[in-house]
Symmetry: none
Subunit: 220 residues, 4 copies
Amino acid sequence: MANKTKTVPAERILSTAANLFARKGFSAVGIREISDKAKVNISMISYYFGGKTGILKAIISEYFGHFDEIAIRLAGEKLQPDELIRKFTCGLIELIRSKPDICRVAIIELPIEIPEITNLKVRLLKNNMQLMSKSIAQGFRIDDPRRHLIIGPAFLSMIFSHFLLGSIIKKASKEKFDSEFFQRYCETISELFLNGIKGMSKSVTNGKSTGINQKAPKRK
Amino acid sequence: MANKTKTVPAERILSTAANLFARKGFSAVGIREISDKAKVNISMISYYFGGKTGILKAIISEYFGHFDEIAIRLAGEKLQPDELIRKFTCGLIELIRSKPDICRVAIIELPIEIPEITNLKVRLLKNNMQLMSKSIAQGFRIDDPRRHLIIGPAFLSMIFSHFLLGSIIKKASKEKFDSEFFQRYCETISELFLNGIKGMSKSVTNGKSTGINQKAPKRK
Amino acid sequence: MANKTKTVPAERILSTAANLFARKGFSAVGIREISDKAKVNISMISYYFGGKTGILKAIISEYFGHFDEIAIRLAGEKLQPDELIRKFTCGLIELIRSKPDICRVAIIELPIEIPEITNLKVRLLKNNMQLMSKSIAQGFRIDDPRRHLIIGPAFLSMIFSHFLLGSIIKKASKEKFDSEFFQRYCETISELFLNGIKGMSKSVTNGKSTGINQKAPKRK
Amino acid sequence: MANKTKTVPAERILSTAANLFARKGFSAVGIREISDKAKVNISMISYYFGGKTGILKAIISEYFGHFDEIAIRLAGEKLQPDELIRKFTCGLIELIRSKPDICRVAIIELPIEIPEITNLKVRLLKNNMQLMSKSIAQGFRIDDPRRHLIIGPAFLSMIFSHFLLGSIIKKASKEKFDSEFFQRYCETISELFLNGIKGMSKSVTNGKSTGINQKAPKRK
DNA sequence: AATGAATGAGTTTTCATTCAT
DNA sequence: AATGAATGAAAACTCATTCAT
């Protein structure tokens, strides 16, 4: 568990803290525990991050930075709607796999009130939601625009579902979570969401409606 | 914020604690804060619940109790698969609306390591997942059974998505979350999931199997 | 040095803290040192006084309380101006002798910026200065009223001079500071001040002017 | 507040520290705060002054140096007793006005126990008191020589009174402390003390002794 | 001459719990 | 059944100083 492979103290603090926060939650972790595990003097935490919340700020900022980068990159690739959603899904899943602690912490602490951090979160989330909404809205025109605020979070929640519940699911089942699993995970979530949203949208791919269920009469 | 309307100390402690845990996370709340807001002597917490974790246990147990009750009740109603999913979705949303703090705490703290509580959570979750899986599997035969462990949590995550992110979304958007919103929420989530899963299942609705990505039968 | 004779924790904390503050200054004393010397658990300080500054607040309030009580009592005795000044001087000196630590702390910390306490000090000092000014102005009409703000503090400073410098004077001389010394101290300070102020006032003693600048027209 | 006009680091440290010590007290100021405000690297403090107490030593030494210089200079001017006291008073007040922080720190910290510094203070104070006593005793023969140890500090306390209480008085009154005020301050304190001491001394002015409480000769 | 990263002992305050009443 | 004083451990953070550069 002790973390001394990385030689830079600030990085060791960040990754160690992220791991502990991910497992126990931000408030349950003390800086002493972090500094011990990171093999760093306890003062270094205030020195580098200005305090415990400073670490959390760094973690959350990093997560949103990665997220937005993915969203922007894909937006530049001019993909078909289906492909965009699929790549977005897989991109996020890859992100979570490559930085599981960072992502879990950012997501888990998102809805939790930490006064010092609320502003940061709201600011980052606003920008983030706009990017994501654009990705979805670009390809799938939803009848009722008020559904955007439901579909967006639902999409994200699906993607994150395994990572949020993973640790406890791991204990409740005997499934192995290897690369093959995540391949399947990407596909399943993409498919679930694409089928789901196509059923309720006027798809705009190629400018003509192509939704699978498009024969379907719209909901009254 | 102070809570003195309920006259029974144990109830005041539970509801006050649930509210605080829901907002700040379990570890960030002190028993002094709980006892102050609940207008209860601080010793009463140890007295009634055997300590702070005792309150959390009670909250989590209550949540799972309600959840299972819904699952069991619906299972007894012999509903069509579509209707089952819809009712299950709406039942859970109603539950969350009627006991928002209890539910948020149980869900938020679910993936967090609290040694004293992990066993309880694993035990309750196992039972819970079986009930839910049965509900889904009953109507939609998924090609690959390993997808169960993905679809189940994804379904739940979608349902809970708003409640997890709600508080922060509230700050990042100006949508009003009233009864009308939740009506829309139930429908949207149900539809999203039903479309999604039908697209990938050999639906047994109407007794005939249909493949993944089939041109899905339209909703009536 | 250890203080266990008084049985009430709050009192032990207060007197021990006053002693330490008096010698080392407020900021130089840690609550650990206080709690050790007072034979009290360290948490009791926050428990009883709400923190270290709480002790200081209590000390300062006690000092001003005693001070004002003396001023008010003497004001009620309808004394001759000379007698009033003399009794006021001796009253304060007795106060300082009976509660040397309390008084030293209050006086020494008075001009020091402690944000949390500034308001308290200003409020208490305002009231205090009015009481004292009345005592002086009652008997000695000063030509220039703007001198009040000089004479008042000068008077107090003279009275406190020994107690402020005492500890260091003790080290720099071999005088013994016994009851006889303080008797002399009272008389000397009173005389010094009375002579001083009479020389610059239109004295109203006995209705006949006796001041140095007695060419001044007498009061009725 | 930041101090970068003076270009020499050691000077910037000293003046910045003096200002902070004067306002908050020695112990309440950290070297980080000093180095930040002085725009100096934190290590420079240990480098130039050998530590935080080194700064205080420098400040106290500077104050006593100035004080003694005044006392010695005036002693060489062969002044009349009255004039000596007046010039001494005004000299000190000018000193305090020109170096308010240095003087306040030296005076405020004087009675406070700082082991490392006590010896320095006692040594400087002894010399200082002798010089001052000589100034007073030279012109006014006090009946009881034991009164010297009372009158000396009382005299100093009067002079310093405004500077000790000034900052808090500023908050408690609306008087403006400009040059005119300090002119008045010099005169008032001199007069108060001269009248005071003449009343109790066998004045040697003009070579003839006069008793206590004599109808004092008026000023010039 | 000057820097700033790093240290470890120090600070105050808050924690959950217990116990005598 | 209920209180609140008391505890000791642990919390986050700041301290003055040192050292390699």
